[in-house]
Symmetry: C2
Subunit: 236 residues, 2 copies
Amino acid sequence: MPEINGAETKKSKLIANPNCTTAIALMALWPLHQLFGLKKVIMSTYQAASGAGQPGMDELTQGTQAYLNGEAVENNIFAHPLPFNVIPQIDKFQSNGYTKEEMKVTWETRKICGLPDDFPLSCTAVRIPTIRAHSESIVVETERPVDVAAARQALAQAPGVKLVDNTEQLEYPMPQTATGQYDVEVGRLRKSIVYGDYGLELFVCGDQLLRGAALNAVLVAEEMVTNGSLQAKKTA
Amino acid sequence: MPEINGAETKKSKLIANPNCTTAIALMALWPLHQLFGLKKVIMSTYQAASGAGQPGMDELTQGTQAYLNGEAVENNIFAHPLPFNVIPQIDKFQSNGYTKEEMKVTWETRKICGLPDDFPLSCTAVRIPTIRAHSESIVVETERPVDVAAARQALAQAPGVKLVDNTEQLEYPMPQTATGQYDVEVGRLRKSIVYGDYGLELFVCGDQLLRGAALNAVLVAEEMVTNGSLQAKKTA
């Protein structure tokens, strides 16, 4: 997203890597923002145990085996046992009823996309019993009328995105296919029943151990070295 | 919801039981509709294997054990292997890009709540690797300003609802606690960042083998016998 945030980062020496949930969503949302202009964003997440690192993944797989053996399931990493469960809490609750994870998506999306400080975006962040790769259900209202074919074309060409949107062949984003991939899968594109011509619904899935964390930091560093402030400093 | 749909059902001899996802959502949405008036509803679901019955539950648990053993995971019931995966498809795709499961939530909510035929409600229906009980992330825009305390009070008193909304104690709706319960758990109530004073966000979880299916049918029959058309016929 060099047009907005990139110009700012060129002035900085310390670059923050976004939250993984934000990074994955924005791979799809930025091309759509450029096409149609985002007006509102409503998101619900399906986040994997890997968000809590290797200990989280171990707690899920070991707990799942314990559950299948009919044994007690322990939880030290997650607030509740995760095997075959759903935990609608990631990070601490804030005074407004949202969790810090949910607010990070709101705060960071506004900042990265250069949107106003009160841009209406909300997220419900939910931990589910998957090992790796976060999925996200996203509904957007747009400034301009949507064209689903144009959205698909833009996403197919967007860097870091793999369009997986062939419902006839039952192809859509899933952790099973997104895990281990650098690209974020985007699919289930459809005109929104709620917002009519001015809205899109979509589903994304990305390996947050790659796109959501280390890979993103490496890409930011590479961008800076080749085009940005580090290069400028070296040649100054 | 006797005020609207109940009057209609009294004229009928054949009563349809709603789709489980719809039934669970409406336990929470009907009291909120009465309080604030629903204007828009956006929903994403976290649906258990039990939606496909015992064979679905067996495929999940047996497949999970196979996965943990490092063996191949078979899928006959679900479109893709469900263990540690997320499948953003339930039932067949329609020409508008939504699945039939998603459209049922739209169609049946409009009908049951007596809302207009074009009432803006959309759903993304997603299968996740839980055995039993469906969860749903719901965002509503309202006609009148919301009061979160009043919403909590109404839900605490609503029949068939258990308010589970104490974030300080990390209490919120989860399959682990909702499974085997007649009541639908409702929590994570908060004023919506997207809709400000005119919006609420919430999370619900209900055992769809009870509230979503047989129990609901029994309750409809009981209501009809004691208050409705069957009683009227008997005493006529």
